[in-house]
Amino acid sequence: MTIETDIITKLQNTLKPEHLEVINESHMHNVPPGSESHFKVIAVSDDFDGLMLVARHRLINRALAEELKGPVHALSLHTMTPQEWAEKGEAPASPPCMGGGK
């Protein structure tokens, strides 16, 4: 199983999201081809209702603690309630790498 599918499975189980996108952006960074190190997550869930952004991100960081301790080096998170998603409908693009590595 790839890390990407692990992330999808864990977030599906934790958040029961209405919409979930997990995008491997590792190719944008200073890592070997085929790496699974940098991900962007767009998650739309009722569970975020009433939570500050920090708390929403913590839910995801905790669900993916194992991945973050190991292979996953960067996780860009865009967390919305279904209502916010309806208003916004997109997440901003991630920044380009500047070569910093670990």
């Binding site: 952004l53 920090v54 991100h57 913590r58 960081n61 603690a65 973050l68 301790k69 960067a74 996780l75 860009s76 998170l77 865009h78 901003p92 991630s94 920044p95 380009p96 790498c97 500047m98 070569g99 910093g100």
Partner: protein, 107 residues
């Protein structure tokens, strides 16, 4: 001084503080760069620590506020978040307001 005490002292001493890869002038990560830029746009001075130059902080910062990634922005000693949260708050005008208040309270 213990590393967690050093972190604690840094975030409490400054109204606004960022742990980042590189420096605000020469960032070495796109996420750190974008975040430092949002802080600069708010027009107040802020403290920073280049985690790439301080391996002890690099290793231990994630457990200070239970936050696994860099950059990390603190206002009034409280973790605000990383790049995505800081930039989202900046776009909504919330970051400016929070920083203005923190800086005037510290003055």
């Amino acid at each position: 001084m213990d590393v967690l005490e050093r972190i604690d002292e840094a975030v409490k001493k400054h109204a606004v503080f960022i742990f980042m890869k590189g420096t605000p002038q020469f960032p070495s990560c796109g996420f750190s760069s974008r975040t430092a830029e949002a802080l600069k746009q708010c027009g107040h001075e802020f403290g920073y620590c280049n985690v790439l130059a301080d391996p002890e902080i690099f290793e231990n910062l994630p457990r200070y506020a239970d936050w696994p990634t860099f950059p990390q922005v603190y206002i009034n000693g409280e973790l605000i978040g990383g790049c995505d949260i800081t930039c989202e708050m900046f776009e909504k005008g919330e970051l400016q307001k929070m920083i203005d208040e923190a800086v005037s309270a510290k003055a």
